[in-house]
């Protein structure tokens, strides 16, 4: 299996889907500048630069999606989504419902976020939970190159608006990517490492943190299962619940801030539907409720670390029941 970066995996997905379906097009801030190979193959009508104006980029995607095209927009950094929030939340997420199902909005909105480039909180802010809370949207945030490709392809083929978050820290990370179609379905989590003592639920770059924690835990005789959610909405409840019932202990790990984050949703899900199987309370290990800072050590301190995740898991396993 070839080893390529997340960036190249996404480039493959874009090219393959544009080749497959002439209705797919991509526009955004510097899309044509940064992807000359796509302009070369598909032409400047389908790969377009835009003004630095996220509202009209997103709105144009929504209008185009409703009337027959399948746009992908690159909005660069996730905090810029605030300017596109009306179009994504009020239009893309609601107008199918409000119109009684007369329209579909097959579009993908790509943005980057996460610690790694020391860019500060106006370029790094994990806002995926905001969009998971909005009806009518889907939210994806993969953890490895193969999933970036397979999930982006599925997102482009989906007939609904999909927010596709790219973890900056993973962008140039290499990984094995299978050839051929290799679609990864939306809404299905992966068991990144099986185990029976405790479940670590995560997504994006903290999946790797959980895998390292699981390795450390194994050395102390604790078998941790690591679940990579991959899609945040729709959430793969069945996989999370099955694991929670099997291990009886759950730690949810994400880089995004704690309050009303994805971890709260997963914890509530487990409490509501797997309570009788729990041997200990669900724990969250997350970023703090502060704006992500620029200074590299502060930025790294923002992200849940291996020690914190392992300590949380150990505390649950040692808790008498």
């Amino acid at each position: 299996m070839p080893t390529i970066t997340v960036y190249d995996a996404m480039a493959q997905a874009l090219a393959e889907e544009m080749r497959r379906d002439a209705r797919v097009l991509m526009f955004g801030e510097g899309v044509a500048t940064k992807r000359p190979e796509l302009v070369g193959e598909f032409g400047s009508a389908r790969i377009r630069n835009t003004p630095l104006a996220e509202g009209i980029i997103a709105g144009t995607a929504v209008g185009a999606a409703a009337t027959g095209l399948r746009p992908i927009v690159d909005l660069l950094f996730a905090p810029f989504l605030c300017y596109a929030m009306d179009e994504l939340v009020n239009s893309a997420g609601k107008l199918r419902y409000l119109s009684g199902g007369q329209f579909e909005f097959p579009l993908v909105a790509i943005s980057m976020t996460g610690a790694g480039w020391a860019v500060g909180s106006q370029h790094n802010h994990n806002v995926e939970a905001w969009f998971a809370h909005a009806p009518g949207l889907k939210v994806v945030m993969p953890s490895n190159a193969a999933d970036y490709k397979g999930l982006l392809k599925s997102a482009i083929r989906d007939d609904n608006p999909v927010l596709f978050f790219v973890d900056i820290g993973l962008l140039y990370q290499p990984g094995e990517v299978p050839g051929g179609e290799s679609l990864v379905p939306l809404g299905r989590a992966a068991i990144a490492r099986p185990g029976h003592d405790v479940t670590l639920v995560s997504y994006a770059k903290t999946v790797a943190v959980c895998l390292q924690a699981a390795e450390a835990l194994a050395a102390t005789g604790i078998a941790a299962e690591v679940i990579d959610l991959r899609t945040i909405k729709p959430l793969d409840e069945a996989t999370v619940l099955a694991s929670a019932r099997r291990t009886g202990r759950v730690v949810v790990v994400h880089e995004a801030s704690r309050t009303c984050g994805v971890g709260a949703e997963v914890a509530a899900l487990v409490a509501e539907q797997a309570f009788d199987h729990l041997k200990a309370p669900v724990r969250r290990v997350t970023g703090p409720d502060v704006p992500p800072p620029a200074s590299y050590p502060l930025e790294q301190a923002f992200v849940p670390g291996v020690d914190a995740v392992a300590a949380a898991a150990k505390a649950l396993v040692r808790k008498p029941h």
């Binding site: 379906d21 002439a22 209705r23 097009l25 009508a45 389908r46 377009r48 835009t50 003004p51 104006a53 509202g55 009209i56 997103a58 709105g59 144009t60 995607a61 929504v62 209008g63 185009a64 999606a65 409703a66 009337t67 027959g68 095209l69 746009p71 009306d86 179009e87 009020n90 239009s91 107008l95 199918r96 419902y97 409000l98 119109s99 009684g100 199902g101 007369q102 329209f103 579909e104 909005f105 097959p106 009806p135 009518g136 889907k138 007939d159 609904n160």
Partner: protein, 330 residues
Amino acid sequence: MSPFSSPALPSAAVPSIEHPEDLLEAMLLIRAYELRLSELSAQSGTPGTCTAVGQEAAAVGVLSALRAEDLILTNHRSAGHLLARGADPGRMMAEVMGRRDGYCKGKSGSLHISVRELGVVLTSTIVGGELSLATGVALSQTLLGRPGIVACFFGDGAAGEGIFHESLNLAAVWKLPILYVCENNEWQAFVHRRETMVGERIADRAAPYGIASATVDGNDVEAVRDAARSATAAIRDNGRPFLLELATYRQRGHFEPDDQTYVDAAELAAWKARDPIERMKARLAAKDGFTTGDFAGLQARVAARIDAAAAFAQASPWPDPAELLTDVYA
């Protein structure tokens, strides 16, 4: 480009509003529809609406200049646009009342009624929302090789949103076939535009983007139609956007019921003296020998349609509660 896989847009018959009497009747229908809903909301549990009473010439004039293949985006003050496009007043009233036979199954209410089969492709009640979507609709028309242009209705209030400028700029840069129709009705919800706008005309904002524009008397239905015909001809010819500003006035409040205590009585009276329906009626009488009896005949026909529409809507069942959870995702 591969062929468009969804149903063609639009697919239903669109009425031709050709003769002067048709223009008058179309305006009368809108007026009667909006006043009936205002009465119903004052009397009973019918939800209030944002009316465009006094602005009928703007809707009818522009719609009479459009073709069946053209697509329309509108806003919360949309009844005139929908009716002039040929929407069934009964299904519209059913929608306002939240009934099953509404165009959107009762899920929209009055504020965001879209009618795909008539080419009313998207309706947003977020002020300026339609401006954000129009560029994408026009891009679809261009890339998919469909013939129609895109008409986008908004008000002077929406022209104060940043997205107005973003939309005009992108439409100009990408050469998109959009007829921007600004119905400048002097009111931005509960605020008079003189409090929020420097200058008198929204159309003045087109030139900096290299967009052609015109401002016409929005209460003269024939003047609006003629200006819209010129504008659409230019768009069809050169594929570029055009901003048409219609100077008009919102005779009723922002949202029914509204006592309009904030409105200057003299200004309101002056605009009511320029009522688009009365003006067209007088013009027909002067030019074409249109009689009081002729007018009564039109009024009776319109009243019968509105009576039937209200009866249809009131008889329409409520949606099944299970409908709450449908239509969220494709």
